[in-house]
């Protein structure tokens, strides 16, 4: 592992307790909105099961569906590109921009481009990229990555956003009114939409049957960008395919209800052909997904539709913040996706969970998230990439638990120290004492009590 791990980064987030509480409550409120929306649909569980099984079918026919989409989309006048990894994806985008001699681009939300670090790459090539989703624009101006895939600046207070807008957009200092700030962003970004010739969007669903792709936004930023640009580039992970257009009915019913509790996003736009005179590109990105498909225990995570319900419900995410996951897709789903990409770098993430299982219960495509977290832990420990402290602790535990006399001696010693010299355990070196108090120390162990009272 290089850099700070989840626990260390969560520590930083936890320094400001009122903020942690606010973050926790805000996301729990979103989770409650999700519940209300789901309960209103009597066939909700049937929808989840259907979605999960459609995705099973997608995974078992992915190579055929990709080719079917390619043929249909090509016939519709869309150019298809294939990128084996992040570097190839970024190079394809750059080559399209260069061909059009363009050095400015607008972009709507795409977690894939975050995964590929497209913005940094293009910036180094002298290309100006403007993120147009309001939350993404906020974090872009702040020089940070999004902390949540649906609510990118959920970690920011409105006063901080007011300050960022004051600095970058010239809004009056001290104005932190969401209505006012949103309007300021509308004016600022409208100018970008009107002057950029290339627009990049993500893809929520790509239909193999028809070769069309669907982009969902509430703000309308994907459409503003795409319909005003000469060139529309849509980037998608290869797992975003659905077989038939009518399957969209299932997924669009689930997506926003799971995400924010809305019945549907404001816009669910179906792009099938470029408008006359426009160029439309779709970039298929693999970046580890095809290998991931071969991992029986973990392939189900490729069903994810990026609703973030598992983030909002997760007791760890809500209290550690998105940045503690140091990956583009945070939260429980990110913790099982990231190790596929780099097992060593993300070895800490499957441990950033209580395994409570709430993530699996809210997942609209029924991914067994908490079971995969548990399985990843085993793979990581067996593979020797577990964090050092964890490995040492496990080894010690193994020795203690397999030696009865050591076990009894250790228990006795522990009780004595906690009773007579609590500072030796209750100090900053012991992670168990962070945000925790230990219960009172019993005078004897259960074993000792049992021996005395056996008769």
């Amino acid at each position: 592992m290089s850099g700070k791990d989840h626990a260390a980064l969560a520590d930083e987030f936890n320094k400001d307790e009122p903020r942690v509480n606010w973050h926790d409550e805000t996301l729990w409120w979103v989770r409650q909105k999700r519940d209300k929306a789901a309960y209103k649909v009597p066939e909700w569980e049937e929808l989840r099961e259907t979605a999960s099984r459609i995705k099973d079918n997608v995974l078992s026919n992915l190579s055929e569906y990709l080719q079917q989409f390619e043929a249909a989309a090509t016939a519709n006048g869309i150019t298809i590109h294939w990128a084996a990894d992040a570097a190839e994806h970024n190079a394809i985008i750059l080559s399209i921009l260069r061909r059009h001699q363009v050095d400015k681009m607008v972009k709507s939300k795409s977690m894939l481009t975050e995964e590929c670090h497209l913005n940094e790459f293009l910036l180094a090539e002298g290309i100006d990229v403007v993120d147009t989703d309001l939350g993404e624009r906020v974090v872009q101006l702040a020089g940070e990555p999004p902390s949540h895939i649906v609510l990118p600046c959920i970690h920011k207070k409105k006063e901080e956003i007011g300050e960022i807008f004051h600095e970058h957009l010239g809004t009056p200092k001290g104005n932190a009114d969401p209505q006012f700030l949103t309007h300021a962003a509308r004016l600022h970004l409208r100018e970008k939409f009107l002057t950029r010739r290339v627009a990049l969007t993500g893809v929520n669903f790509a239909v193999a049957e028809t070769g069309e792709f669907v982009v969902c936004t509430n703000e309308g930023n994907a459409d503003m960008g795409a319909h005003l640009a000469d060139v529309h580039i849509a980037c998608m992970g290869i797992e975003k395919i659905v077989p038939l257009r009518r399957h969209l009915g299932v997924f669009l019913r689930l997506l926003t209800r799971s995400a924010t509790g809305q019945p549907i996003t404001t816009y669910s736009s179906h792009f099938k052909k470029p408008r006359p005179g426009q160029e439309m590109h779709v970039v298929f990105v693999d970046n580890g997904r095809s290998a991931h498909l071969g991992r029986k225990d973990f392939r189900n995570s490729l069903k994810c539709i990026r609703c973030a319900a598992c983030f909002n419900t997760c007791p760890v995410y809500r209290r550690s913040g998105g940045h503690s996951y140091h990956t583009a897709v945070a939260g429980p789903i990110g913790s099982i996706l990231a190790p596929n990409l780099d097992r060593e770098k993300y070895a800490d993430l499957p441990f950033a969970s209580t395994l409570c299982g709430s993530c699996s219960n809210v997942c609209p495509v029924k991914i067994d998230i908490h079971e995969q977290l548990y399985k990843w832990r085993q793979v990581i420990v067996q593979g020797g990439t577990a964090p050092f402290a964890k490995k040492a602790a496990m080894k010690t535990m193994n020795w203690v638990l397999s030696n009865p006399s050591v076990y009894h001696g250790a228990g006795k010693a522990g009780r004595w120290f906690m009773l007579n010299a609590p500072f030796t355990v209750n100090n900053g070196l012991n992670p168990w004492y962070k945000q925790r108090d230990m219960p009172g120390v019993p005078k004897e162990s259960f074993g000792e009590w049992y021996k005395k009272n056996k008769k």
Partner: protein, 232 residues
């Protein structure tokens, strides 16, 4: 070996064994669909009017948007209040549109969305770039849920022949439905569901209407049996 072939080969090699597609939920039907649609639309920040026809629509729009500036419409009946000339060479000239009035195909009761294909948008950018948006559907053209919605889309994509019957308001009036020869009324290169005004809650989860697209959305439901008396 190209990336394409490499990716496809790896995917093919790693695909799990065949899993069949499930049956889809049947979808809802019946009930007070227009009532449910209106309630849902209002709950997501839009508003709805039951009207007898375009005369009423023009009156309401004049009252609701007295100083909205440039109005563009795909409804020839609205020539009195709007530019109804049709296409524009460059979508950027729509930058100053205050209000767009367009006919959609149908509404969806469960989420308040309307389905509109590009032939009814004049320009793809128009429903997004206008400061305010009004959509017109026939009162009877409301489906219960998204399953029914995609059935509609499938059915009418190739159904060019039955134009008068299925094209909704504009088609029936011989308006802008104008699907190109050989394509069905419902066919499209671009189409979208629009549910309420553009919105964001990215700043501390405070809902703000009017993110990048229209700040307000009205859906007019035309019920030709309706009398104007007693309205408004």
């Amino acid at each position: 070996m190209s990336s394409r072939d490499k990716i496809l080969a790896t995917v093919k090699g790693n695909q799990p064994e065949q899993r069949a597609l499930p049956n889809l939920p049947l979808g809802g039907s019946g009930g007070d669909l227009s009532g449910a649609f209106i309630a849902m639309l209002e709950s997501i920040g839009g508003s709805a009017y039951l009207v007898s026809g375009y005369e009423r629509i023009a009156t309401i729009l004049r009252e609701q948007y007295p100083r909205v500036g440039r109005i563009i419409s795909g409804c020839p009946e609205l020539t009195v209040i709007a530019e109804t000339g049709g296409r524009y060479a460059d979508p950027h000239v729509l930058e100053d549109v205050g209000l767009a009035v367009l006919t959609a195909h149908f509404g969806v009761a469960e989420n308040g969305a309307c389905w509109i294909t590009e032939d009814r948008m004049i320009e793809r950018a128009l429903p997004f770039i206008a400061q305010h948006l009004a959509l017109v559907i026939r009162c009877q053209d409301i489906v219960a849920d998204m399953h029914r919605a995609y059935e509609w889309i499938e059915k009418f994509e190739g159904a060019g022949a039955a134009k008068g019957e299925v094209a909704g308001v504009a088609g029936e009036k011989g308006g802008v439905a104008g699907a190109a020869a050989g394509m069905g009324v419902g066919s499209y290169g671009f189409a979208t569901f629009i549910a309420g005004p553009s919105k964001t809650a990215d700043i501390e989860q405070s809902l703000v209407l009017g993110a990048h697209g229209p700040k307000s959305l009205i859906v007019f439901l035309i019920d030709e049996g309706l009398s104007d008396a007693g309205f408004y």
